[in-house]
Amino acid sequence: MEYSKEVLDLYENPRNVGSLDENDVSVGTAVVGAPSCGDVIKLQIKVNEDGKIFEAKFKAFGCGAAIASSSLITEWIRGKSLEEAIGIRNQEVAEYLSLPPVKAHCSVLAEEAVGKAIVDYQKKNSEKVIA
């Protein structure tokens, strides 16, 4: 597969690889994709008191495009509010990385991961309010 220099750079020097404490209430966790499909992205966000994402981490099992998409989206959501983060479209990721059409699903997974991590964070915190 012929990749853009943006993908190659993020593959070589991935930003924000790692994990956050899943039990921390300020952390939202998402695992999307399936091993049998060849792509799994785990993405975590840590939200501060202002409701902004101040840390984002990922781990990825997948091709270069999957690694680059998830790394890029963690860069983009850092410092953003949850509304802003959820507004990031997979097409923007695919465009920035010049992903070939056959790899577009990698950017879809990255977008899905952000959405699910936010939902997880919100769920944890709404439960806290109710309790």
């Binding site: 091993p35 049998s36 060849g38 099992f61 997948g62 091709c63 270069g64 999957a66």
Partner: protein, 392 residues
């Protein structure tokens, strides 16, 4: 022999995909482009006869490598894809009154699978028999699939992804007993293992898999007792009327020379490749956990082909981490269709491990230095990717 026939900045370990043309083959071929350019079918003058003589020498070399009874059994084609299509379609269409069932294995090359699918669309009944976890056809299953209406069995000699060797003699025996034609795609087997074409009815080989030119192959079509085929191409009736078209003399000569060299060096080369493979595996197994060999681990496998799965990491991602090393992956991510390898699926390799697979092929110009470098690099890349894998 010099093993310096390669680009210094890359390490080529994809010998099942294609091989470089051996310089000795090239040297033999060159005169037939500009000097001895006669049409081998123009036998009424000296130029034509010279070309024809060169082609007949090549034909003998092909016959000898694959264990054919006579050079007359060999039909030159454009490659194994054409040879396989000619065999399957040719038999099916000529003998369709006699039956309509064709049996292949689930791990055949795409060209056999697609040729049989085309026949299926024409009303033939195609049975794809499964293989064991080691990638070997179960003879009992084969026998059960045979019926009175079966025309042809087509089972490859050596698989192109996992390198396993099928029990060709036994399959041949079963086919004979049932009076069914037996074709074998030997593109990956020729020059690597001893072949006995006389045991089968049809056998395909390819030039570029054995250090010959691309664009040439051959189909062995047993002449006694005669096997008849409907040709794919009509024209001047060359090649016993089975494959019309002026023969490309340089390519035929190249295939012949490649077969001659392969025959002479097969044994020593097999031993050398087995050592390289052993070394490569020892580096991987002593430095990495959860590396799995796909296919057969014992001797029913050619030495130059390795198919490995690296748990927790995806094949294309590994390849991206070592761009100077040319290998292949069975991962969906390397295919346009996003389907993982049909061969690994047929072996019941877990899908995630199919995505984690690499095929590494050693060949005539592979050196120990290259194997050492590639194995160490592979360990490094797999470790790096495992650190960022959510599955590890």
């Amino acid at each position: 022999m010099e093993r310096t026939q390669r680009r210094s900045e890359v390490i080529y370990l994809d010998y099942q995909a294609t091989t470089p043309c051996d310089r000795r083959v090239l040297d033999e071929v060159i005169p037939y482009f500009c000097e001895e350019f006669g049409n081998p079918h123009s036998v009424n003058h000296i130029m034509g006869r010279t070309a024809k003589a060169a082609i007949e020498t090549a034909r003998s070399n092909v016959a000898e490598l694959i264990g054919a009874e006579s050079p007359e059994d060999i039909i030159f084609t454009s490659g194994a894809t054409e040879a396989n299509n000619l065999a399957l379609q040719g038999i099916a269409r000529f003998y369709r009154e006699k039956g309509d069932r064709i049996i292949i294995s689930e791990i055949e090359h795409k060209c056999v699978i697609e040729a049989s699918r085309a026949l299926e669309r024409d009303g033939f009944d195609v049975i794809r028999i499964p293989v064991s976890r080691k990638g070997i056809v179960d003879l009992q299953v084969l026998e059960e699939a045979l019926s009175d209406r079966t025309l042809l069995v087509s089972i490859m000699s050596v698989n192109n992804e996992i390198g396993t060797i099928q029990p060709i003699a036994e399959i041949s025996e079963i086919c004979k007993r049932h009076g069914v034609f037996f074709h074998t795609d030997a593109a990956q087997a020729a020059g690597k293992i001893e072949l006995n074409a006389f045991q089968v009815d049809l056998m395909s080989i390819s030039g570029h898999k054995i250090y010959g030119p691309k664009g040439i192959g051959a189909l062995y079509v047993r002449k006694k007792p005669r096997i008849r085929l409907i040709p794919l191409l009509y024209g001047g009736g060359q090649e016993r009327g089975l494959r019309s078209g002026t023969l490309p003399t340089p390519l035929c000569v190249g295939l012949g020379k490649a077969c001659e060299i392969a025959r002479q060096e097969m044994q020593s080369e097999a031993a050398r490749l087995a050592q390289l493979k052993e070394y490569f595996l020892s580096v991987l197994f002593s430095n990495l956990e959860k590396v799995y060999l796909n296919g057969d681990v014992d001797s029913r496998c050619i030495p130059g082909c390795l198919n490995l799965s690296f748990a927790g990491v995806e094949g294309e991602a590994i390849m991206l981490g070592m761009p100077e090393i040319c290998i292949s992956s069975g991962s969906a991510c390397t295919s346009e269709t996003l389907q993982p390898s049909h061969v690994l699926r047929a072996l019941s390799v877990r899908e995630e491990l199919a995505h984690s697979s690499l095929r590494i092929g050693f060949g005539r110009f592979t050196t120990l230095e290259e194997v050492k470098f590639a194995s160490e690099k592979l360990v490094e890349v797999v470790n790096k990717l495992r650190q960022m894998s959510p599955l590890w």
